[in-house]
């Protein structure tokens, strides 16, 4: 069975990608050995007033070095604190957590919206076969270049400053992109749109969800999402995002 760990790991690299967006590499052989794209780490703050972990997706996995990359946006005080850490500092993490994306060899479209983009990078690297990559931004376009080696990249920006003016679905339509399978991570309205798009066209979708978490391992039932069928574990129509997810098939869940 896959294992997860809670430990102090060292920050081996840290850069700012954009206004309020940071990239950070942390080193830990054990955690890295288990990590899969779509999984996440729980990050613990040092300040005693912040007790709950911050879930951050795994953006890249370097098995050679035993390092993981995390890319995060400063959204509040916890990520603000973390953005102040330096190379060489250590940070308490738990992980890898969650299921991760199932890797299927099909003609796929990878879709990332905003801070949902980072987990698509390792997925793009690992997924075999032909892939189109669609990235939706508000304005700034962090990580864009790093996707170029792995597929054709299409951009949507809200203000139209780059690529399609609009959202990721607008970009898919504008470019006439087709796929047998859609992977997506991003804000809920975007995921809702993709879920509907998949249902309409009979295309399978894998959606990575977000919810506020406390335990991160399935014990507290904070992070549930409604499901169409009764969930095997909870015995009711909702499921634990941190444990059964964060990646779900679009057919299973109600957004």
């Amino acid at each position: 069975m896959a294992r997860s760990y809670k430990k102090n790991v060292v920050i081996t690299d840290k850069t700012q990608l954009d206004e309020g967006i940071f990239s950070m590499w942390v080193r830990d052989e054990e955690i890295t050995a288990e990590a899969k794209p779509g999984q996440f780490l729980s990050l613990y703050c040092k300040s005693g007033n912040r007790l709950l972990p911050r879930p951050i997706s795994i953006c890249e996995i370097n098995h050679v070095k035993g390092e993981l990359r995390l890319v995060y946006r400063v959204a509040g005080q916890g990520t603000e604190e973390i953005s102040g850490y330096h190379i060489g500092d250590s940070i308490e993490v738990m992980g890898p957590l969650g299921n991760g994306f199932p890797l299927e060899e099909k003609k796929v479209i990878l879709i990332g919206g905003g801070i949902g983009i980072p987990p698509m990078l390792e997925l793009a690297k690992q997924i075999p076969g032909e892939k189109n990559i669609v990235l939706g931004y508000r304005d700034t376009t962090f990580l864009k270049e790093e996707f170029l080696p792995y597929g054709k990249v299409y951009i949507a920006t809200e203000d139209g400053s780059l690529g399609t003016k609009g959202n990721v679905l607008d970009a898919i339509r504008e470019n006439g992109l087709e796929g047998e399978l859609l992977y997506a991570c991003g804000p809920t309205p975007m995921l809702k749109g993709i879920q509907a798009y998949g249902v309409e066209r009979g295309i399978k979708t894998y959606l990575s969800l977000e919810e506020r978490m406390a335990c991160g391992i399935g014990a507290c039932l904070a992070c549930v999402c409604k499901t169409k069928e009764k969930d095997h574990h909870t015995n009711v129509n909702n499921t634990r995002i941190c444990k059964e997810g964060p990646v779900f098939s679009g057919e299973e869940i109600e957004l």
């Binding site: 294992r3 997860s4 809670k6 613990y44 005693g48 007033n49 912040r50 007790l51 709950l52 972990p53 916890g78 738990m94 919810e211 506020r212 978490m213 406390a214 335990c215 991160g216 391992i217 399935g218 014990a219 507290c220 039932l221 904070a222 992070c223 549930v224 999402c225 574990h233 909870t234 015995n235 009711v236 129509n237 909702n238 444990k243």
Partner: protein
């Protein structure tokens, strides 16, 4: 050195359990914690039929604590008995099942079903602030505390722990009512009702508007209430509310609790329970305390 405590006839190997709702049924945490080391495992609330719980967001972080409004989501007592209980039976620690319900009958139904099971103790949650019916409504009025305790005792085969709400003017009154109703022990505190507002969205953070405040922020209130109840009734007390460290746990024991439960701390540190147990043992060794009973309630002498 003795760390065993006896609560209503049930002997725990040490005075540390998990706070209901923060440890699932132990399965998830068993990757991080050797459950055999715990005095007891207390499960998430179990009701007669499956409960879906509240809408999300269900939790919010607060300064030194958190709010939760899970709303007692649980798979129901039948699934619990078929799946979770056999898992827990594999371990030597005692099993405490937290019971919730919307009506007195609900509670009694669960208690009755668990009667012949391997459950060691029952903890009756009459203090959940996050459900519309049942929960806290039972726990804020001494008369109804006494009445529901009496009813449950009719059906219970195991010792009954009544879990008290801190959202009352005088917790000694509800504790006395539980004692009068025939409870075998009390546990306290459940969460304090709280609220958080998202100033950017200008909306409540929790879908349920209010939630229960837990974590180290509330510890001083919890220690006070444990001490107050220890001076008011004769029943053993399981103390909880903000225990993060062994020092915190010792405060509760010294205030008069016979055992303690670790809750929110698990989210910050999955091994919190074990560290508490180890810290208590080391404290006892260092201070030449042969029996944990020497500590319990020592500030009251």
């Amino acid at each position: 050195m003795n760390t065993k405590v006896n609560i209503a006839g049930i002997e725990w190997q040490n005075p540390v359990t998990t706070a209901s709702g923060t440890f699932g049924s132990g399965i998830e945490y068993s990757d991080y914690v050797d459950l055999n080391k715990l005095g007891a495992v207390t499960t998430k609330g179990v009701s007669s039929i499956p409960w879906t719980g509240n809408q999300t967001p269900r939790i919010a972080e607060t300064y030194g604590g958190m709010l939760n409004a899970i709303g007692l989501q649980n798979p129901g007592v039948d699934v619990f008995m078929k799946r979770d209980l056999p898992f827990l039976k594999k371990y030597t620690s005692k099993i405490i099942v937290n019971v919730c319900g919307k009506t007195t009958e609900d509670y009694c139904e669960v208690v009755e079903k668990l009667g012949d099971s391997s459950v060691d103790m029952l903890e009756i949650n009459i203090s959940c602030p996050n459900v519309k019916e049942g929960g806290i409504a039972f726990g804020q009025n001494p008369c109804s505390v006494e009445a529901i305790t009496k009813e449950i005792k009719k059906y219970a085969h195991q010792p009954v722990i009544m879990k008290l709400s801190p959202n009352v003017t005088d917790i000694a009154e509800t504790a006395k009512a539980a004692e009068a109703g025939g409870a075998d022990a009390v546990s306290l505190i459940n969460t304090l009702t709280g609220m958080k507002i998202d100033i950017h969205k200008r909306k409540f953070v929790l879908a349920n508007k209010t939630g229960g405040l837990s974590g180290p922020a509330i510890k001083p209130v919890a220690v006070r209430m444990v001490n107050q109840v220890a001076n008011a009734i004769k029943l053993p007390i399981i103390g909880m509310g903000g225990i993060m460290t062994w020092e915190d746990a010792l405060e509760f024991l010294m205030a008069g609790a016979t055992a303690v439960a670790v809750g929110t701390a698990n989210f910050n540190n999955p091994r919190a329970t074990l560290e508490v147990i180890q810290g208590i043992e080391e404290y006892m060794k260092k201070n030449n305390i042969d029996d944990i009973l020497e500590i319990i309630g020592c500030v009251n002498q």
